[in-house]
């Protein structure tokens, strides 16, 4: 009895301790974002002595983070839209239609999972230079969409396969054509999977740094991660502004996660466990 109580206490202490470790950098991010330039150099207190909103406001407007935010929104939005359109069509075909090459094509897309991003990074840049889209937002969106193919096809094909075939036969008997069945029967029923795919695409796209870094040259097209980088590449970094910018990046993601938590969880568990 006493033994189990000790075990419980230890377990709870560990849980709380790890929660603090999980939150640790976020606490300092929050703290730094509300400090002035003087205080961030002077004081190591977690709670700012004189909390100020100025740092966030400066970062948002004078340091152009509003513009970067809009750019990020555009790139992420287009990527998510592209992924949903292109791969819901393809996955529908893999799940319910009958045509030669169906299985081979499905496996082909899934096996692309093995090609590391870093291996094709340079060829993508060379290709886009030749196509003349390097440095544009389109030049980011196309490889981002293509890069999600394996996981998305896997998740969506699974989702569509789980929808009872009788529904399709019934719609067919009522005279619905294939696209109509896809649009009015399958898409609405697969909504949870579609949302899962959307969030699992949106978050890494929002945070993407490497391809964006080597593609974009024009600061007016910068996304948030690149904007953040410019703050730290100067001679004297002002960490209060760096933390304010970081906060601007993570808040939308955290909000999205808190709103749609179960889709994240289902998606990740589904992706790994099959």
């Amino acid at each position: 009895m006493i033994g189990s109580r000790i075990v419980k206490t230890v377990a709870r202490t560990a849980l709380v301790a790890y929660a603090l470790i999980s939150l640790y950098p976020f606490l300092w991010m929050l703290s730094g974002a509300f400090k002035t330039r003087e205080e961030i150099l002077r004081s190591g207190n977690l709670i700012p002595d004189a909390p100020t909103l100025d740092t966030l406001l400066t970062t948002w407007s004078r340091l152009h983070f509003f513009d970067y935010f809009l750019n990020s929104l555009q790139v992420t939005g287009l990527t998510v839209a592209g992924v949903l359109v292109v791969y819901s069509l393809a996955s529908y075909a893999f799940a319910v239609l009958d045509f030669p090459g169906r299985k081979a094509l499905f496996w082909f897309f899934v096996s692309l999972l093995f090609v590391p991003g870093i291996t094709v990074l340079l060829p993508v840049v060379i290709l886009e230079k030749n196509l003349g889209i390097l440095g544009s937002h389109l030049g980011l969106v196309l490889p981002f969409v293509n890069g999600t193919a394996p996981l998305t096809v896997l998740l969506l094909t699974n989702g569509f396969s789980g929808i009872p075939r009788e529904l399709r036969e019934a719609a067919r008997a009522d005279g619905a054509r294939e696209f109509r069945i896809f649009w009015s029967v399958y898409l609405p029923l697969a909504r949870p999977t579609l949302i899962t795919v959307a969030v699992l695409t949106a978050v890494p796209t929002w945070n993407e740094y490497v391809l964006t870094r080597v593609s974009l040259n024009d600061p007016s097209l910068y996304t948030l991660p690149l904007g953040l980088e410019t703050l730290l590449s100067g001679n004297v970094p002002h960490y209060n502004e760096v933390m304010a910018a970081s906060l601007i990046i993570v808040i939308p993601v955290i909000a999205l996660f808190l709103l749609l938590q179960r889709y994240f969880v289902n998606g990740l568990v589904g992706a790994v466990k099959g």
């Binding site: 929660a19 069509l89 196309l142």
Partner: protein, 324 residues
């Protein structure tokens, strides 16, 4: 994410050709065309972005090029040989990067499992706050990226929060006056800690889902038979979770082979190459060598990483099958 179980998925694809169109008398060709029309956008995008890039990448790995001259100089497998041993400057650099990568590859999955399994067991044992804690634990995953890495840089600075914290709890001797990332001895271990911090969320989530899928009757029966909690954990829970452990280890190993973002952002390989990893080498050979003819080598190294990951996945799948 799901390399382990892709073969299980074959079963999910309907094995039989879907039922023939009833009543509407559609021809076979009609059905085929419909199918192809649905996959066309995905295939077209892949033909544009995928075929060319993979093809160019493979070809480029057999050539020397600096990205500007019109001509490639074909050198066969020389790039691969240069990387492995022939180039007197690059090969040793690469060996060091490989050694660092190997340390990350071993340490990160091991520590991730060691932390997330107990965490998931503890989380599974509490009822109150489970949802809240799970959300908190998950934050490092959804925010992975430059913002969080900069926050870590900020707390790891010479006069950053971690040094102050160590000083205030009487562990000042452990603090790093040059900053944890500035000291060659602590830089790599520090990055490993941050990597573990970012990979614990998914691992904990997977373990938690695995624990919740275990039939409570099995555990109950073991208790009745007189098994101690530790025996239950070792003899029943751990074996049942083995596939998940394998998945977590595989994910960690692949991330270690391919991932370099955190190294690029937090240290860029420094101080003095102490945190250089293979992915970062590919990046540098691709984009940081100005006019030197290193693009072919970048490609060659990229494909070696691809082969490495493939090999590890196959070994892992084989091991897993044996365990099952």
């Amino acid at each position: 994410m799901s390399t382990l179980t892709t073969e299980d998925r074959a079963g999910r694809l309907p094995a039989e050709p879907p039922g023939r169109g009833r009543g509407r008398g559609r021809s076979r060709w009609g059905r085929w065309l419909t199918g192809w029309a649905f996959v066309l956008p995905a295939v077209a995008l892949f033909l544009l972005m995928g075929v060319y890039t993979i093809g160019t990448g493979l070809a480029l790995s057999l050539a020397k090029w600096n990205g500007l001259t019109p001509e490639w100089i074909w050198v066969g497998f020389q790039n691969y040989l240069d990387l492995l041993y022939a180039d007197p400057v690059l090969a040793p650099e690469l060996r060091r990067a490989a050694w660092n990568t190997l340390q990350v590859m071993v340490a990160v999955p091991a520590l991730t499992v060691a932390i997330s399994l107990p965490l998931a067991v503890a989380l599974n044992s509490v009822r109150r706050l489970r949802g809240l804690l799970r959300s908190v634990y998950f934050l490092p995953y959804v925010t992975t990226g430059i913002a969080v890495y900069y926050a870590w840089r900020y707390v790891l600075e010479p006069d950053g929060a971690i040094n102050v914290l160590l000083g205030s709890v009487g562990l000042g001797s452990l603090s790093q006056p040059q900053g944890f990332l500035g000291n060659p001895d602590t830089a790599l271990p520090t990055l490993i800690v941050v990597l573990v911090w970012s990979s614990v969320p998914v691992a904990t989530l997977l373990y938690l889902s695995g624990l919740q899928a275990i039939d409570p009757n099995v555990i109950e029966a073991a208790h009745i038979d007189g098994a101690s909690p530790r025996q239950v954990l070792r003899r029943i829970v751990w074996p049942l979770l083995t596939p998940l452990t394998a998945a977590i280890v595989l994910l960690g190993v692949r991330d270690a082979l391919h991932g370099f973002q955190i190294f690029l952002i937090m240290t860029n390989g420094g101080p003095g190459g102490h945190t250089d990893v293979l992915g970062l080498q590919v990046y540098r050979l691709s984009f940081m060598k100005e006019l030197a003819q290193t693009l072919g080598m970048a490609s060659a190294l990229g494909w070696m990483l691809f082969a490495g990951a493939l090999l590890l996945t196959l070994v892992n799948a084989r091991l897993l099958r044996r365990i099952r």
